[in-house]
Assembly symmetry: C2
Homo-oligomer: 149 residues x 2
DNA sequence: TTAATTATTAGTAAGCGTTATCGATAAAAT
DNA sequence: ATTTTATCGATAACGCTTACTAATAATTAA
C-alpha cells in the first residue's frame, strides 16, 4: 500500500537525467549542476538536488553515499561496487561481485538480516601507477593529498 | 624520512582516549564530547575533534568514514569491517574477512594497486528482528526511517 | 635558571555539502 | 473555469567539521 507520488518530467528533470547519463564518472551534485547550467543557466542548485533525490526515489538513478566524501550519483541502478583511485580520483564500477558464500557466512555468524552491502576499494589506477613511476613524488609525506588533481 | 610531530599527552587527550576505550559502540565525535564533558566540563568540541584527529594520525585509534553519516571513531585499529542495524543503529565489527582470492581477482581485472577496502553492511540485528515480529510497523512506508531511535 | 619556542587549549567563526522554506508559476485534476 | 498539486528559483537554515584567535602551559635552547 505504498503511495507513489506522481512525478512530472519537467525540462529541468529531463536535462539533469540526460547530463547524468552522459557523464561517465559518477558525478557529484555540483558537477551535474555545472553541466546542466550550460543548458539551463537559471536553474538553482536546490533544484538539482531535489530532482536527483526524486529520480533516485523513483529508481531511475542511484544515490551513492561514499565514505567521507561528497555524495555521488550513478545511472547504473544495478547493485555493484566501486573502486576509487587515490591519486586522480577516478571512480570505477567493480565488475566482480562478492562471493555469495561469504555473505552466507556473515548471516550465520552475526544473525543479521542483510539488506545491503556497500563496498569501496581504494588504490592506484593503472594509469597513475605509470605516472608514479615516471614522476617521483615520494619526498612528499603524503602522496594521496599532494598529487590529487 | 617522515617527520612525526611530537605529541603531548594532555589531560584532555588522555581522557578522550579513556572514554573512547570504554564506549563499546564506535561513537561519534559529539557522543565522545558528551562523555568527556562529564569529567572536563569546560572542554570544547573542537578540542575533541583535534585530539581524535591526532590520535588517529598517531595510530592509536581509527577514524571511520561511514557512508552518508557522521564520522565514527574506533579503538580497534586492526583492519576490519562493519555491520550496522538499520533499526537501532548499532554498529558492530564484522569478524569475517574478505577472501583473499576475491581481492586477487580484483587486482587482475582492474589492474589497481589496492590500498584499502571499506566494507559496510546494513541489515536488521537479531534483537530488532524479534521486535519487528512483535510490534508491527509495516503500515508505515519506510521501516528504516520511522523506527530508528 | 631564564628565555625562547612550540604544542595545545577554549571559544568562536567560517566552511561545506545538503535540506528546508518561501512565494510564484505552471501542469493536472475536478 | 476553478481548484489542487508539483515544481520552480532564490535564499536561509542546518549539521558536521575545520580554521582562526589569543591565552596558556610544556618543552627546548641559551
Amino acid at each position: 500500500m505504498v503511495h507513489r507520488k506522481f512525478q512530472r518530467m519537467t525540462p529541468q528533470r529531463k536535462i539533469i537525467l540526460e547530463e547524468l547519463r552522459q557523464l561517465r564518472f559518477h558525478p557529484t551534485a555540483d558537477e551535474i549542476y555545472d553541466r546542466v547550467r550550460l543548458r539551463l543557466p537559471r536553474i538553482s542548485l536546490g533544484t538539482v538536488y531535489r530532482n536527483l533525490e526524486s529520480l533516485a526515489a523513483q529508481g531511475a538513478i542511484r544515490k551513492l553515499d561514499m565514505a567521507g566524501s561528497q555524495r555521488r550519483f550513478d545511472v547504473n541502478t544495478e547493485l555493484h561496487h566501486h573502486i576509487r583511485c587515490l591519486r586522480c580520483g577516478a571512480l570505477e564500477d567493480v565488475s566482480v561481485g562478492l562471493p555469495s558464500s561469504w555473505e552466507d557466512m556473515l548471516v550465520d555468524t552475526h544473525g543479521y538480516d542483510i539488506q545491503g552491502v556497500h563496498l569501496e576499494i581504494w588504490g592506484f589506477c593503472p594509469k597513475c601507477l605509470e605516472d608514479r613511476d615516471r614522476v617521483n613524488c615520494q619526498e612528499n609525506t603524503d602522496h594521496n593529498e599532494t598529487c590529487t588533481h
